[in-house]
């Protein structure tokens, strides 16, 4: 697999959220607003890149039997640093995300990439993999939060995470009388997630069906050619 493929894998083909079902706890919980989604996404990207780099650096000196505890300690340390930074510089984000910031430690994406990629590849590739997977995760969060926020409040807005009073942009998309507020609730989270996962599965099914059809047509053409040659 070349570098470009490896980088883009996280977006659709191996999308960690909607096709591998990794890290869905936080996805379902925090995608009520665009602000939360971007804040969480950036925090996960930061942890993922750093953990991939560190684990890749120590991959040759880590004894195989205790590698999982070692990875967990590395990840927990990084998450604690990020949590302290968020608390200090983006207090509004800290209250909005709450317990889900420390819970990045147990986000399966991070441990999953450490185990399946960073422990086998060099530092540069691991950092790239972390960025790609992290961006795939963040895109999934953004898509879901935009859908949920627009349907439940009718407004799409984004405030400066470092200064909660400063609004960066705000549009009203759906008039106030037509919003469905249940999309803010757990019900909306599950339904939105199910529909997006089904859409991705449908897209993949269609793609494989097309590829199979093409393969069959090719085989038929070859068989016809072989017959003619006889």
């Amino acid at each position: 697999m070349n570098r470009k493929e490896n980088f883009t894998a996280g977006f659709i083909r191996e999308n960690p959220v909607f096709s591998l079902y990794l890290g869905i706890c936080s996805t379902l919980a925090i995608t009520t607003t665009l602000n939360n989604a971007i804040g969480m996404g950036v925090a996960v990207i930061a942890v993922l890149i750093m953990s991939n780099v560190i684990i890749s650096l120590i991959r040759n000196i880590t004894p195989n039997e205790i590698r999982i505890p070692v990875y967990i300690v590395v990840i927990a340390t990084l998450v604690k640093i990020i949590q302290m930074l968020i608390k200090a510089y983006a207090a509004s984000l800290d209250t909005a995300l709450g317990v889900f910031i420390p819970l990045i430690v147990v986000n399966c994406i991070i441990l999953g990439r450490a185990e399946s990629f960073a422990s086998k590849n060099n530092v540069f590739d691991s950092a790239l993999d972390g960025l790609g997977m992290g961006l795939g995760y963040t895109c999934s969060l953004i898509v879901m939060s935009v859908i949920r926020q627009v349907i439940s409040t009718g407004v799409l807005n984004f405030t400066n995470p470092f200064d909660a009073t400063q609004m960066i942009f705000e549009f009203r998309i759906i008039p106030e009388d037509y919003v469905i507020s249940v999309f803010n609730q757990p019900f909306g989270a599950f339904v939105t997630f199910a529909l997006l996962a089904a859409a991705l599965a449908g897209y993949k099914n269609a793609k494989t069906a097309k590829a199979e059809k093409k393969k069959k047509a090719q085989e038929a053409a070859q068989a016809a050619l072989a017959k003619e040659a006889k």
Binding site: Y21, K80, V106, F187, F190, A194, L195
Partner: protein, 193 residues
Amino acid sequence: MDIGNLFTIFVTAVLINNVILNQFLGMCPFMGVSKKSSSAIGMGGAVTFVIVAAAIVTYGLYHGVLAPLHIEYMDLITFILVIASLVQLTEMIIKKTSPSLYKALGVYLPLITTNCAVLMVALENIKQGYDFAEMLTYSFAIPIGFTLVLYIFSTIRERLDAAKTPAAFRGNPIALIVAAMMALAFSGLMGLV
């Protein structure tokens, strides 16, 4: 000790703030081991043991070691190591006592380490400033809520296997739709406390 207060904590944690349907924690086993009701019960038992044991140990460590030494920032690292060792212990116990359950749970058994509910309970006990009795009640109530929802969900999924579903919805997406319906039903209990 105030029994009414403990009862409120219990009901809130089991039904109103249900760990799966309302806080979205422990989704991996929720999707992974909910295909058969027998393994759902086994998983619920294992998670209950790990959560209660981890809560007691982390609570003791925090108030006995971390707080007196003023190194509270070490909480995440300490807690996750305690949880990982307890999961390893549970795995060994189940492997010895019930090989069939061990097989049924498969990879989801070691994955209890990364079950967010375990770490959440440990962190929440500290954050809410619970005393020992409240801590015990809360740590029991959360896995009971988890097991209850996991069991209900697994019985629905057993039926779902026989149902006709569109190709794109087969497997997890339709299960998530069911979870959405359950979340809607549970949100009706909101006014209970």
